[in-house]
């Protein structure tokens, strides 16, 4: 999975879960500060990512949810780890 693919996937899932237009989501969009992501939204995003990719992101607190780009980076890293 490339960084661009990961960004697309995270953006798509956030758009779907939060009913936010894709055009309003960018890699620098902050999940909490810009989108108001709460713990339920966070759980839904992680579960949706697991369903789409079969991977679990090792996020343990809301502080792990920074920007769309940072979540995508972790997703790529998890993918690379599983293929190493």
């Amino acid at each position: 999975m490339t960084e661009a693919q990961a960004i697309d996937l995270v953006s798509k899932l956030i758009s779907r879960g939060r009913s936010i237009a894709l055009k309003d989501i960018s890699p620098s969009t902050h999940l909490v500060n810009d989108l108001g992501l709460d713990s339920l939204d966070a759980a839904e995003l992680l579960a949706a990512l697991h369903m789409e990719t079969g991977k679990q992101l090792d996020f343990t607190s809301m502080e792990d949810f920074q920007t769309v780009g940072s979540v995508a980076t972790v997703l790529v890293r998890v993918h690379e780890g599983s293929h190493a």
Binding site: S39, L40, E44, A47, H50, M51, Q56, L57, F59, T60
Partner: protein
């Protein structure tokens, strides 16, 4: 005291919890209402994640129940002359603290399962209190029937998944342990509140 090691697979009935403010009926009814509103948020998200039609169907019915229950508690509070007030959700907060952020559909289902069990047990316990207004008793009776179904369909779904993937049983056990620890925390807080009065 229950420990991690002796949480059984038989899912013993949740023990009673004495909240520090349990003598304030309005606090308790607001707790009930807040729990149902919170539950609706969880079930809404679960219904978007559900990966089979039966589960989608059950969760959609469950979502209706949570909204109706929140309305019933709002109406009950109004009918006995109370008001809606913001309340903390100590059990949910502690449950989340001990389990961590759920990362899969099964983990969210397992947390919902233990939370529903706990809520159902609390409603049943309340129904045993002799002097409660008839509006509250009626509301409790109606809701308990739904809650019993919530616990059973989620447990059946998890057990079905556990047959296909043994890791799901471990997730259920983790949720039970988080539930036990949350209750131990709250019992300790309650005991401390009593000691300090």
């Amino acid at each position: 005291m229950t420990t991690d090691q002796n949480v059984t697979r038989e899912y013993a009935a949740p023990g009673a919890y004495a909240a520090p403010d349990e003598h304030d009926p309005m606090w308790l009814l607001n707790q009930y209402r807040a729990a149902e509103v919170h539950g609706a948020g969880v079930i809404l998200r679960l219904s978007r994640l559900a990966d089979n039609l039966q589960l989608k169907n059950d969760l959609t019915r469950h979502l209706r129940d949570e909204a109706v229950h929140a309305w019933l508690w709002t109406k009950a509070i109004h009918d006995i002359g109370g008001d809606i007030m913001p309340v903390d959700e100590p059990y949910q907060t502690r449950l989340g603290h001990h389990f961590g952020i759920p990362r899969t559909l099964e983990e969210i289902l397992a947390l919902t399962w233990v939370s529903e069990r706990r809520g159902c047990a609390q409603y049943v316990e309340h129904l045993d209190v002799q002097e409660i207004p008839s509006i509250i008793r009626r509301t409790l009776r109606g809701i308990i029937k739904d809650e019993t179904w919530h616990v059973s369909y989620i447990q059946e779904e998890l057990e079905r998944r556990a047959l296909a993937d043994p890791k799901v049983q471990a997730v259920m056990d983790r949720a039970l342990i988080a539930d036990q620890r949350a209750m131990e925390d709250m019992t300790a807080v309650g005991a401390e509140a009593v000691r300090s009065t």
